[in-house]
Amino acid sequence: MRRKATQHALLYAGVALTCAILVFPIYWLVVTALSEPSQLRQLPPSFWPAEPRWGVFGQIMAERPILLWLGNSALAAIGAVTISMVVSVLAGYSLSRFRVRGGQSLGLFILTAKMLPATLLVIPLFGIFRNLELIGSLWSIILAHATLIIPFTTWMLKGYFDTIPRELEQAAMVDGCSPLGALVRVILPVSAPGLAATALYGFVLSWSDYAYARTFLTNAQGNWTANLGITTMKGEYISNWSDISAASILVALPILAIYLFLERYLVGGLTAGAEK
């Protein structure tokens, strides 16, 4: 009994420590945002500002086109996720269900693409988009993000489709559906949790991109995404880290809101493969 209590205590201590490590950077971001810039370098550091600057959020929204940047980020993420989901649903389903010659090699090829660092594609994509006259257009990062997201989402969805019994679409086909009809009418509705998890994953990948936006959109100020916009707040000689932190919080809020909204589906989606 005593041993069990000790084990529990150690477990809770471990969980608390892990949570502290994970939450501390977010907490420090909030502290930085709410502190006067002059207080940031004081020693010992203050763990909560004496007079929090709650007005900082309104102030930077008035000074900077934060809403425009957020809108651009949202458009890019929604566009990239839409393209990625259409492609990866069909690709993942095919890899899961059809045994075609070379199918396994194709799957492996996609897996390899997933392992390549995103920055490796920046220069070739720049060349392609320049020829297509897409540099400066939101389409450049929509397509670039899709190339990044599709290998991940294809494999995530393939794994999810593998857990769905084949008899479901066979029943749909006996009931009169074409193979594509069975996918749309039966498999996709059943896969809603997996689709939600996968789409959110793609959304976060796109939302958090900086390298592509920096390369393709620098000269098109009206199309700046949130991450790109925030970096312009850093001056060459002086940077207001409090304002930058406040802007970072505003940019992170939409993702946090989506996570909270989709949590129920996400848990189902990510654990769906655990049981038949």
Binding site: E167, Q170, V174, D175, G176, V190
Partner: protein, 373 residues
């Protein structure tokens, strides 16, 4: 409703032939059961019939229509799957009406037919539930209902009872039989359970390694098995097999069984002289006490089921067959089972007299395994 003709259907995966020249004519309204051990090709045949798998060669006709190259939805068949394959995102009513909706049936007509089928199956109070809120038995009924509402030319059923517990399985088995008698829709039913095959079928098709072993009614299949495989598969417990040699004695053509010269119940027995044979004897054809051919044994094990007893006896060495490569149960090769009805309680390892009627014996060619009659 329509008859079905399967003509020389084969199926190979690369070099592996899983169906070899499968031919079968099924009459309109007939209930045919495909039975056999795992991997014998019965489910593959059903999927080919449904259009879910492509045959390597051969043709399939439903009614007068050649459906070999038609998509599953164009064959006008309905299928009940082993795991029911209900659409989890739809209610029971929508599950049942899905096939009609796909065919563009009027919504009022769909509702009428779904309600009618639900009443027949006693699930009319479950129509608004989702499959996850149903028990195994209820799901099974919904799967049947989904097939019934379509009013198809034929029902295909792929081991639909195997996920139910033993008691519910017996109950549902009877219900499916009753449903077939009521609707008279041609039904092809796949199972590995010989009891299901015996109790439900108009005709049984027994398969092994992709080859049909025998097509017959349950009674004929039981009384006149075509070969050793059929004889061993049909019946519970399966038939006892005893190795023997045909001899010519003063009493005619006989085989020595348990030390007795036993006359064999075959025509033209004289032509068999000197031949190695396997004699088959069903456990229920062995009686306690003396009879036409009696022998004494010391039971190794007695299993009592109340109304009957299974008496396990070690076979004499001379009657034991060589081990086969077919994965046959080793204990069946070396032992004999007697099924005694309404027996007196008896302890094992006490000498017991058993007997059988030679007319009940089955004779098989030891080399080919084919029945000799």
């Amino acid at each position: 409703m329509a008859g079905i003709r399967i003509d020389s259907v084969t199926k190979s995966y690369g070099g592996l032939a899983v169906l070899k020249a499968f031919s079968l004519d099924i009459a309109d309204g007939e209930f045919v059961v495909l039975v056999g051990p795992s991997g014998c090709g019965k489910s593959t045949m059903l999927k080919i019939l449904a259009g879910l798998e492509e045959a390597s060669s051969g043709t399939i006709s439903i009614g007068e229509r050649d459906v070999t190259d038609l998509a599953p939805g164009d064959r006008d068949i309905a299928m009940v799957f082993q795991n029911y394959a209900l659409y989890p995102h739809l209610t029971v009513a929508k599950n049942m009406g899905f096939g009609l909706k796909m065919r563009g049936t009027d919504p009022a007509e769909i509702e009428r037919r779904v309600n009618d089928a639900a009443k027949i199956l006693g699930i009319d109070h479950l129509l608004e539930r989702r499959p996850r809120a149903l028990s195994g038995g209820q799901r099974q009924r919904v799967a049947l209902g989904r097939a019934i509402v379509r009013e198809p030319q034929a029902f295909l059923m792929d081991e639909p009872l195997s996920n139910l517990d033993a008691k519910l399985r017996v109950h549902t088995r009877a219900e499916i039989s009753a449903l077939h008698k009521r609707l008279r829709v041609t039904t092809i039913y796949v199972t590995h359970d010989q009891t299901e095959a015996m109790t439900m079928a108009d005709r049984i098709v027994i398969m092994k390694d992709g080859v049909i072993q025998q097509i017959a009614s349950p009674d004929v299949m039981f009384r006149e098995p075509a070969n050793l495989f059929v004889a061993g598969f049909i019946g519970s417990p399966g038939m006892n097999f005893l190795k023997a040699k045909v001899e010519t004695t003063a009493s005619g053509t006989t085989a020595k069984l348990f030390g007795h010269d036993v006359k064999l119940p075959v025509a033209n027995a004289a032509t068999l002289a000197g031949k190695d044979i396997v004699v088959g004897l069903r456990p229920e054809h062995i009686a306690a006490g003396p009879g036409q051919v009696s022998f004494t044994v010391i039971p190794r094990l007695i299993e009592s089921l109340g109304s009957e007893q299974y008496v396990y006896v070690d076979l004499p060495e001379e009657h034991r067959r060589e081990a086969s490569s077919g994965g046959e149960d080793e204990s069946r090769r070396t032992s004999l089972i007697a099924r005694l009805i309404n027996p007196d309680p008896r302890p094992p390892e006490v000498t017991l007299t058993l007997s059988f009627d030679p007319a009940r014996l089955h004779v098989f060619d030891a080399a080919s395994g084919e029945a000799i009659r």
